[in-house]
Subunit: 146 residues, 2 copies
């Protein structure tokens, strides 16, 4: 795993201990972005059979709080996690099968939208979720979210 060294460095930078569990979670999410907590656990138990779902939740929480992961909440389903924390990209979700794709921000700044003014609120960021139907699901609306 060529990314292991990078994860180790990043963990050390944040004064976090380098554990097998954290490395496995980071590897799984780097390989398959947009995994839910359950899906992360399913991907990780193959290497660490003793890891529990609760530990995955703890790891995800700690790594998110330390900016190594980014969490986002698709409408109506469980939270997803990804390793791209450096940019301000957004997401597109297929309302039929639940698949999620990254959408690069056209303007490249955060927030990439015109930050609304006169709100009585200082805006720090904007989360954007596009909803639609992906090509595989067009013409086959009987599918269930995967």
């Amino acid at each position: 795993m060529t990314t292991a060294n990078t994860w180790t460095e990043l963990l050390r930078e944040r004064r976090l201990r380098v554990t097998r569990q954290r490395l496995a979670v980071l590897d799984a999410i780097a390989e398959h972005p947009h995994l839910s907590a359950e899906a992360v656990h399913a991907a990780v138990v193959r290497r660490l059979p003793e890891i529990t779902v609760q530990s995955v939740y703890t790891v995800l929480h700690d790594l998110t709080a330390n900016q190594l992961l980014r969490r986002f909440d698709p409408p109506g389903s469980a939270a997803r996690y990804e390793a791209r924390t450096d940019d301000n990209h957004h997401h597109a979700m297929c309302t039929v099968c639940g698949r999620i794709e990254d959408v690069d921000c056209a303007r490249g700044e955060a927030p990439c939208l015109q930050a609304p003014t006169g709100l009585g609120m200082e805006i720090e960021a904007a989360d954007v979720v596009f909803r639609g139907v992906c090509r595989t699901c067009v013409g086959d609306r009987s599918r269930q979210p995967a």
Copy 2:
């Protein structure tokens, strides 16, 4: 309640029966937008002491499915409901106190952002949530979500 007649008409248009519970839920949300299901129940029990939280959930689900209400999921907290279904406005959320404000869409169309192309997905709409800190919470970060 001057809106009662309007609600009655809208319910009849959708072939939905006009019940005290539905009118009370609609009134509560029209008066206080962005209520959660629990908050709707708390607001409604004052007039209908016998209503249960589960009935509120059912009413919210049915009215949302029939376009009388709009549901949206703020990141990390319970679903909220509002009566503005006619336009494509967005939301701004204070990350300190949890308060939510409407943000009118600058372009007035849905989706108001440049719909991304070449995605392998046909985009139908865009949900935008701005995150920030409202004026009352600036300088008092110790507050908890209300």
